[in-house]
Amino acid sequence: MTPAHLLLLPVLLPVLSGCLALLHDGLRWRRAMLLGTAVLLVVVAGWLLIAADRGTYGIYRLGDWPVPVAIVLVLDRLSAAMLLLTAVIGVLGAWRATDGTDRVAPHFHTLYLLQVAGLNGAFLAGDLFNLFVFFELLLIASYALLVYGATTPRLKAGVQYVVLNVTGSSVFLVAIGVLYGVAGSLNFADLAARIAVAPEADAALLRSGALLLLVVFALKAAAAPLSFWLPGAYAATTPAVATLFAMMTKVGVYAIIRTGTLLFGSDAGVVSGAYAPWLTGAAVATILVGTLAAFGATSTARMVSALLVVSVGTMLCAVALFTERALAAALFYLVHSTLAAAAMFLVAGIVPAPASARMATGALYTIGAIAIAGVPPLAGFLGKALILQATPPDARGLWVWSVVLLSSALAVVALARGGVTLFWEQATVSPSDNAPAPAPTPRQPSGYPAGGALLAVVLLSIFAGPAGAYAQRTAHQLLMSGGYVQAVLSTPGGR
């Protein structure tokens, strides 16, 4: 049995230890807080995953208010999986950060933990406004982390990133205003129930609200045409931060899945399927833009960022279908591609390797490249195959099939070219955009975090069976959106 208050831990724990880290100035204390919390979060998230897999909803009402009024945190299979993924990525980034990144400027640890809290909160939020608040929490931490160290390329990327996201937040608030004005609630469950019975006269406004939300989430997920900010920003920042940022795009994908199934799913009456007509086109365009960017990349980090965009496009192709098989495939691929992108950001942080470490680094690069390109034998191939299988053979399917396959082939070519340049041509390519930045430590950062990330990818490939089955159960639960509404609205103290 899950103690009820456990649900609060993924948000509370990083905030608390982030504040505790500020109390003492010692690097050792702060690192202990960062790593300890990161590891503890994996345990908590694992526990929550097991609890969520029983198929019931974990619901936490803040302040014990009755339900449509209360701020609720809701845990289902999707949230639990995202929490666990965040925790794992969080450990990897924190591990890499303790290699010296955290010494460049003060308060790295607190910012990092606050961003983790924001991510976890966004995955647990049970209403639209708290989704916004947690978005802002993770964004404000990410602004500081992005420009962390304040080198010129980071500041350049930072200004654009902040302006873009502040504007995005305005759009988010407008969408919230529209939906509240029409439906009169912001709680996901209550909103879903009200949208389901909305009269035809409200359809136009509800649809505008839905599409405004889609714009915001597409901006976070870096779906075309809102994807151009990503490669510059992710390539400019430190590898530790880029690793955590690999998770940040998934908040957008998560929000698209959550609102697309719960609020604008098949039960949504006049606005059912509001996302579908736009999503496939955007996803295909995302893949094309990302693949071209990967070819034009001038650094490893930039190439990985572009491939991250490609992976977002690939999973959105499946999400756009909103069928059980497609959602399961998208979720499986989401977990894999996030781990693979994190691994490659970590690898990008240790290339070009000195001659003594070239063999080991080359091996890491090769495994990471196989993972992120989605070719056998790792699970990325399986994820892509599942996505293609779930795509029906109509005109839309034709686009998805051809573009996904073409981008996989081109990604392999781009990665191979990068590998040749890095390891055989004695590195004429700079490792990242900020190569001339003053190195915090003269020694080469260790490759162990990258190895750890790749181990996670390999483990996911070995345990693809159970993971796939979990994704299937998650997709099933997502499409039974009535269960979510019922569970939240009928909690004790509810109406």
Binding site: F129, G158, V162, V163, S170, V174, Y180, G181
Partner: protein, 113 residues
């Protein structure tokens, strides 16, 4: 009053977008600020415009203003102000580092003769 509020929001958003597209730090800051004002007004209006009514429901019934949008606006103002302050800080550092106030970090390229 509805028309007046709608016009105010429209003008604020229009000016905000125009300033955002100037792509220079200071106009962009003003644009972001105007946009957030417009959004705050819009949120307030989403709870329906009512004059001289208390934001509280009494046993006696009667008209009341929806308190939720007011709470939302309060949160949005706080967050928006924090974001703006942070944007100013980043923009100032960027201006120092790059020597230009263009958001691309360099002066726009000149095309043609």
């Amino acid at each position: 009053m509805t028309v007046l509020i709608a016009l105010a929001i429209g003008v604020l958003v229009g000016c905000g977008v125009l300033l955002l597209l100037r792509a220079r730090i200071f106009p962009v800051l003003l644009g972001v600020m105007l946009m957030s004002y417009a959004v705050n007004l819009f949120l307030l209006a989403s709870g329906r415009l009512r004059n001289l009514t208390p934001p509280i429901l009494t046993d006696a019934g009667g008209p009341y203003a929806d308190p939720l949008p007011q709470a939302l606006v309060l949160t949005a103002i706080v967050i928006g102000f924090g974001m703006l302050a942070l944007l100013v800080a980043v923009a100032l550092r960027s201006r120092q580092a790059t020597g230009t106030d263009h958001v691309d970090g360099h002066e726009p390229l000149e095309y043609g003769p």
